[in-house]
Every structure is written in structure tokens, then in C-alpha cells.
Amino acid sequence: MAEVEGANAPLCVLDGIVKRFGDLTANDHISLSLRAGEIHALLGENGAGKSTLVKILDGLLAPDEGRILWQGRPITLASPEDAATLGIGMVFQHFSLFDNLTVAENIAVAMPAGVGLRVLNKRIMELGERYGLALDPKREVWTLSAGERQRIEIVRALLREPKLLILDEPTSVLTPQEADTLFATLEELARQGCALLYISHRLEEVTRLCDRATILRGGRVVAMCNPREETPQKIASLMVGTAIPPLHDRDNRPADVRLSLRRLNAAPADLHGIALKDVSLDVRGGEILGLAGVAGNGQSELFEILSGERAAPQRGMVLIDGEECGLDGIDTRRRKGAAFLPEERNGHAAVGALSLPNNVVLSRHATSDIAPRNVIAFDRARAFSDAIIAKFDVRTPSPLAEAGKLSGGNLQKFVVGREIIGNPRVLVIDNPTWGVDAGAAVLIRQALIDLAAAGTAVLMISQDLDEIFAIADRIAVIHHGAVTAPRNVRTVAREEIGLMMTGGQGASHAA
């Protein structure tokens, strides 16, 4: 494409950036330019080198070769503080906020010393009005939704008046409505002359929002394009390197009810929790029931009670295969043929500091032969782990690697495989493809479809409506701890579901 020098000169140019970690070349001569007022997408599968590049731009890593030009001058970024001073702001995928502090206090801790809270409050309100980032500086963070929490991160970055703002998977925790609000903010920022580097794997939003896209694969730039002129399918195949297989649908013949909730009422387990209100649900063998909802509406509380990590108030409130098991622990429920996979990979579904075989022991010691008489048979755990790695195409530095060394997508493939090998009769899975790349997401979704086809009852909690509409048979919505009656995904309108998610019409209880 033709580049005009002068008024439209690039704000920041990466020129031949190379970064190696041992034998691995994470960034292999990457060049790209970012212009003021432009929303530039950085796309690629996990492991393609996006994070490394972003860390270089944020001053966390130093490149081995290549130059960074800022307004035409070569610069060295020694720390995130250097980057911030220069005008590079970051909004990370994972929030780093203190729950018990207020919005303003959370912002103050990231500011240079000497900025008073009162001044800060005023500036937060001003920024909020200018960019549509409504925030009450005095609210405590635990009372806020994911969308509001993200606004804190954005405001925190904007207060440093960045010329370049980098956003890493910003919509992964947002409702469609919240995402729309975010896009309006980003477009406004671009209009005011800020350059934006937007990292995402949700191609629909990239084609909608971004002016240019750079696609990375295996550490190299494989394509640059105008996403508005491409189809998401085309971009996805560029990212993966091969055409992405479409999901194979299945004959849908729901059988007997395998998982039931009967008038489940439960007080929150802690101060910041959500009470579950009169939740009744039936999931049949052979179907995937999608449970939509904005994060923080009782999903994790529901998951805890379904899995048995927390006991239900009464035995008869949870039934697996018709057996009352509301008071049973998670191992007992697993022995009854159920499997569970929580949302958080690191620290809940898996332990980053443990090896992959040990992470198999974590959830399968009760339902396999790897811990006979409570003694771990490490060779069997290893064999189990190797089988998962082979069957689910898990890319790992070594079969005995610590789980924390795997990329998000690969670890997710591993833990999904761990739960569904051996075909459980019931699977409860929370956000199965949260923050994973397109290739891994397709593989995981196909595995869930195949599992249901084999007769498993799958309850899939998800904040990703696209995902639910892509693979679920029925959809219910959780809002403030209450669950709506499930609807057929082929006949219900998306808008209707969106309304229920925010407590609008139709958000009545299931009978």
C-alpha cells in the first residue's frame, strides 16, 4: 500500500524486530507501522508472537535485533515506565485491580506519586464524559461488572495521555452491549488522534472495528490486510495457516435427563458472592445446554454447587443420572460419571507449577487407575497425559512440562481432554474457549459436539454468545442468580437473549 510521508507519517515503526528465547524465535524480523488515528489489529494464534511483540513495545522485553522508531527517532524502552512516559499505554487481558479499594484508589496506585485523590476524581469524571467511560470513582471494585472493571484499566491508561494504546483481548469478558460501548470509546479515541493496537481473536469485531490488520504466524508477519475487505473465514485461515474446518453438526436425539437442578436456592459463600435463586434445570444426554450471562451473575456460584466444590443446601437439589447428590463432594460426583471444568485455567482447573501428568492426577485420581489405594502411579499418569497430548494436539515444550509453560489455548485443550477422555455421562464446563485462539477453540467446540453426540449431557456456561449459538441446542440465561427457562437456539432471537442477560424482558424464572 502507498504510504504518504508527512502528515500521515507513522507514529511508531517496528523495524525488523527479532526476539529469541533459546532455540525458539518468538519474533522473526517483524516490521509494522502504527499511525495516529488508526486502529490496527494484531492477529495470530497463541504462540504466534503477539505477546512477545507487545511486551517489547511495553518495555518488558528488549529485542535481540531490530529498531523501534518513535515519531521517526530510534528509541530504547527499558521498562514499562519508559513506555508510559513516551506515551505508550497498555490494557491487559487480565485485570490487575484490588477488589476492596475504590475505583479512584485503584487508579491512584498506578499513577506517579503526588497526584491527589480529589484531583484524580475530577480527571476520572472528565475522561468518562469525553470517551463514554462512565465510572463512579468512589465505588469499590468488587461491586463492579467486568465491563466496568475494564473501564478502570482503560481510564488508568488514558490518564497518562497515551499516543499509542495497546489493548490485549479487551472484549473477552464483555457482553455484546458492553463490547459495543467499548468500540464507541475506541473509535472516539482514534478520532482524537490516538493510535490503537488491538489484539483479539474475535474476527467479527476486528473486521468491524479495525482499519488495518497484521497477521502473525510462527513469529513472522504472514499477511497485512484491510480487515473490512476480508471475510473472517479468510483471516482465520491466514492465522492458522490452513483452512479452518467447519464444525460438524450431529444428529440431535436428546435422551434421558442426566443432570438436574431442583429449586436450588443458595446463599452466597462470601461477601462478594451472588445468591442463587430458585434455579431449576434439566440437561438431557445428547444435548448441549448453553447458559449465557454476564460475568458475575452467579455462574461461578452455580458451578461450585454443580461440581460439589461446595455442597448444596439440600441433598435433592442436585441430581446426576437421577441420583440425589447435592451433599456429595466433587470426587463422589465424579465417580457417578460427571466431569467438571472450571473457567480459570491457572489455579483452578490446573496448577501452573505442576507437571502435566500431575495435572491429570488433579482431577482424575478418583476416576481412573492413576492413584490405586491413594498412592500415585506416576507412569500411568504420564501415559494418560501423553494420550491427551496426542489426541487433542496439545503443543507443549515437553511431555513433563509444567502446566504454566503452555500457552492458554494449549493448556485449555489439555484440561478439556483430561475431563472428556473416557466419555463422562455429564459434563459441566465453564467458558470452554475463554481467551484461546481460533484453532484451539474450533478443536474444543468440536470435541464438545462429539461428546454430546456420544450421549453426554453437556452444560456449557459461556459469556460468548457466538459460541452458544454455534454449538448449543438450547440456551438459558443467568441473571442475578436466577436462570430463565431454556429456549431452542434455532428459534430464539439473539436480541432477546441479550436483553435477558441485562435483566430486561423475559428474565423471569424457570418454572
Binding site: 533459546g22 506519586a113 466444590e309 472450571p342 488433579l362 485420581h365
Partner: protein, 357 residues
């Protein structure tokens, strides 16, 4: 100016294994410097502290005797520390172990030889320590009380209880008013392993404890649960482990082993109860546990290193007139060096200039 710790990306297991050795080396240099400031030759001190004990068979036995209780207590502490529970009160659990363990030996003073007295004494010692260790665990589980404070404060309760017993009800009536109990009968004492020297069967118990702990932590589901509970409590729950039960179990094992160490000390080399049984073994064992990286094999080595500083300190006091406090100072330096070596293996230090951020 300020210091920042930045995680290192790739740390080999060799580097991790070598870190404590670096720590010992640096601690030796610092110790030598202090000796020099005290006006003595560091080389002479090094010889008295480290070379002579390691070349003299009698001294080697003495090292094993001193290392024995440290190994037993420190392997117990591993259960708590690995699970992220802070049992600082091993000293108190040890003392209660000596009290419980002494009941039967004291009741059988003057009686005919009875072979079951010693095993019962050892078991009761462990039981006493376990029960005493369960108090901070129970208070933490039930009321959310900090186990650090409770376990530490219970040390003083235990010390004063022992003091009361040996000055009051348990005092030897024929002991010229010294605050000690009667001497145990020989059948209530651990057998000596060598005809010359003081090496007793406690070292076998200690090595057994270390071996069993290695097996439990690395091979059993329970040990797996301890490790997971320490790394990620939510994952432990997901794995089916009950956090409250794990807390109580870890504290009871930890306390039980401290209690066992106490009664091994009494039946192995003291032979009676007196106001001061341990002289801080329960605290020194914390250093040992970390010197050994919370790993049973490492702990055996760590206990011998610490025993060496104690023995060498005594020798240095006699031959070089160096103060005994130097030993404690050196142990402190050693702990700091070990912690710093671990931190600097995992992180890289960066000096950032400027006032703030």
C-alpha cells in the same frame, strides 16, 4: 532509587540445586569477616568450626546427635510450609511432646524392666505434640485466627507448663531441690548405637521420618493434596481435597513430629525432664526446613550443616574464646543467604534510578 525483582524466564534445575551451596559459601565469607573484626584469624576459625568436627569420629557422632531432633522437626514442618500454613510453634509442640512422653517413663521409675515403656513413651510424645499442634489449626479453621500468632504464643504456654511441672508436681524428691524430674530407668531410654560416643537410635528414627515424608509428599494422594493446597487452594478444592481437613492434618503431623523429636531428645540423651529441654530447636528447625528447600533429603543435609555450626561454635568458644552468640549470628546470616539465593535464582535484581515509579 529503588530495587525491582524481575522474574527470570529459564532457571535450570542445576542452578536451583546449586543455590544453597552458593548461600553457604557466601555465609562463610561473611562469617569470616565477622571473625576478622573480632580480631581472630578467619582461617583458624574455619578450621575449628568446620574442618575438625568433620574429621574426628567422636565429633561426627556428636553432629548426628545434634542433627537428629532438627531432622525430625523440620520434616514435620514441611507438611505445614508446603501447604502454605505457618507453624511457628514447633518449639511448643516439642515441649508438650516431652511432657506427654515422660508420663510413662516417670511412672515406671524404680520398676522392673518393661520393654513396652519406650515405644509407648515415643507414641505419647508424638500424640502430645499432635494435639498441641491441632490447637492453632482448629482455631484457624473454625474462627479464622492467624495460625502464626497462635502457634507462636502457645510456645510460651508450653514452656511455662513444663517449668511448673519440673519445679512442682514432677520434681525429684531426692533431687536436692533442683528443678528436675527423677532419671528415667534405662529401659525407657533409646539404645546407644556406638560403644564410645553418644550416638543413639534417634538418628534412625530421624532418617525414617525423612524417608516416609519423602514418600508421602511425592507418591501419595495426601502429599499431592498438601502441595496443591499450598500452590493453589482453589485447585485443591477442585481436586477434591477439603481445605479444613488438610489444615488440621498438616498441623497434627507437624506437631506430632515435633513432639516425637522432643521425646527422642529426652529418651536419647537427657534422660529426665528439666526446665530447658530444647533451647530453641523448634525455631532452628525452621532454618533447617528452608535450608533443605522443604525437601526431606535437603533437610537431612541442612540439619547437619546447622549441627556443624552449633558444634563448631562450642569448640570455637573453648579454643578461640569466640562468643557463643556468634553461632546464632551465623545461623541468621545463613538463613538470609539461603532465602536471598533462592530469590535471586528465581528473580533478577534491577536497580531503578529516580524517586518513584
Amino acid at each position: 532509587m529503588r530495587l525491582e525483582l524481575i522474574p527470570r524466564s529459564d532457571v535450570s534445575s542445576l542452578q536451583r540445586t546449586l543455590a544453597p551451596l552458593w548461600a553457604i559459601l557466601i555465609a562463610l565469607l561473611m562469617g569470616g569477616l565477622i571473625v576478622a573484626f573480632l580480631g581472630r584469624s578467619p582461617l583458624a576459625a574455619f578450621k575449628v568450626y568446620f574442618l575438625e568436627p568433620l574429621t574426628d569420629p567422636w565429633a561426627l557422632q556428636e553432629l548426628a546427635v545434634k542433627a537428629t531432633p532438627l531432622i525430625i522437626i523440620a520434616t514435620g514442618l514441611v507438611y505445614c510450609f508446603r501447604a502454605n500454613l505457618w507453624n511457628i510453634g514447633a518449639e511448643g509442640q516439642l515441649i508438650v511432646g516431652t511432657i506427654f512422653g515422660s508420663i510413662v517413663p516417670l511412672a515406671t521409675v524404680g520398676m522392673e524392666s518393661t520393654p513396652w515403656v519406650l515405644p509407648v513413651a515415643l507414641l505419647l510424645g508424638a500424640l502430645g505434640g499432635a494435639l498441641y499442634g491441632s490447637i492453632p489449626a482448629f482455631l484457624r479453621v473454625r474462627f479464622g485466627v492467624s495460625e502464626i500468632l497462635v502457634s507462636l504464643m502457645l510456645v510460651y504456654v508450653a514452656e511455662l507448663t513444663l517449668d511448673y511441672l519440673v519445679r512442682g508436681p514432677w520434681r525429684d524428691p531426692k533431687g536436692f531441690n533442683f528443678p528436675t524430674t527423677p532419671n528415667f530407668e534405662s529401659f525407657a531410654l533409646l539404645p546407644n548405637l556406638a560403644s564410645e560416643g553418644r550416638l543413639h537410635a534417634g538418628i534412625i528414627i530421624a532418617l525414617l521420618c525423612a524417608a516416609v515424608t519423602w514418600f508421602v509428599l511425592n507418591r501419595t494422594l495426601f502429599g499431592f493434596g498438601i502441595r496443591v493446597a499450598g500452590e493453589a487452594p482453589r485447585a485443591a478444592r477442585f481436586s477434591g481435597f477439603n481445605a479444613n481437613r488438610m489444615t488440621i492434618a498438616a498441623f497434627m503431623i507437624s506437631g506430632g513430629l515435633a513432639g516425637l523429636a522432643g521425646i527422642v531428645e529426652v529418651t536419647g540423651q537427657i534422660g529426665q525432664l528439666k526446665p530447658a529441654i530444647s533451647g530453641g530447636l523448634g525455631f532452628t528447625a525452621i532454618i533447617v526446613a528452608y535450608l533443605g528447600r522443604l525437601h526431606p533429603v535437603g533437610i537431612v543435609f541442612g540439619a547437619f550443616v546447622i549441627a556443624l555450626t552449633v558444634y563448631g561454635g562450642e569448640a570455637a568458644q573453648i579454643t578461640l574464646k569466640l562468643p557463643l552468640d556468634l553461632t546464632r549470628t551465623f545461623q541468621g546470616i545463613l538463613l538470609f543467604c539461603v532465602l536471598a539465593a533462592d530469590a535471586l535464582t528465581t528473580y533478577k535484581l534491577r536497580i531503578v534510578r529516580g524517586l518513584h515509579a
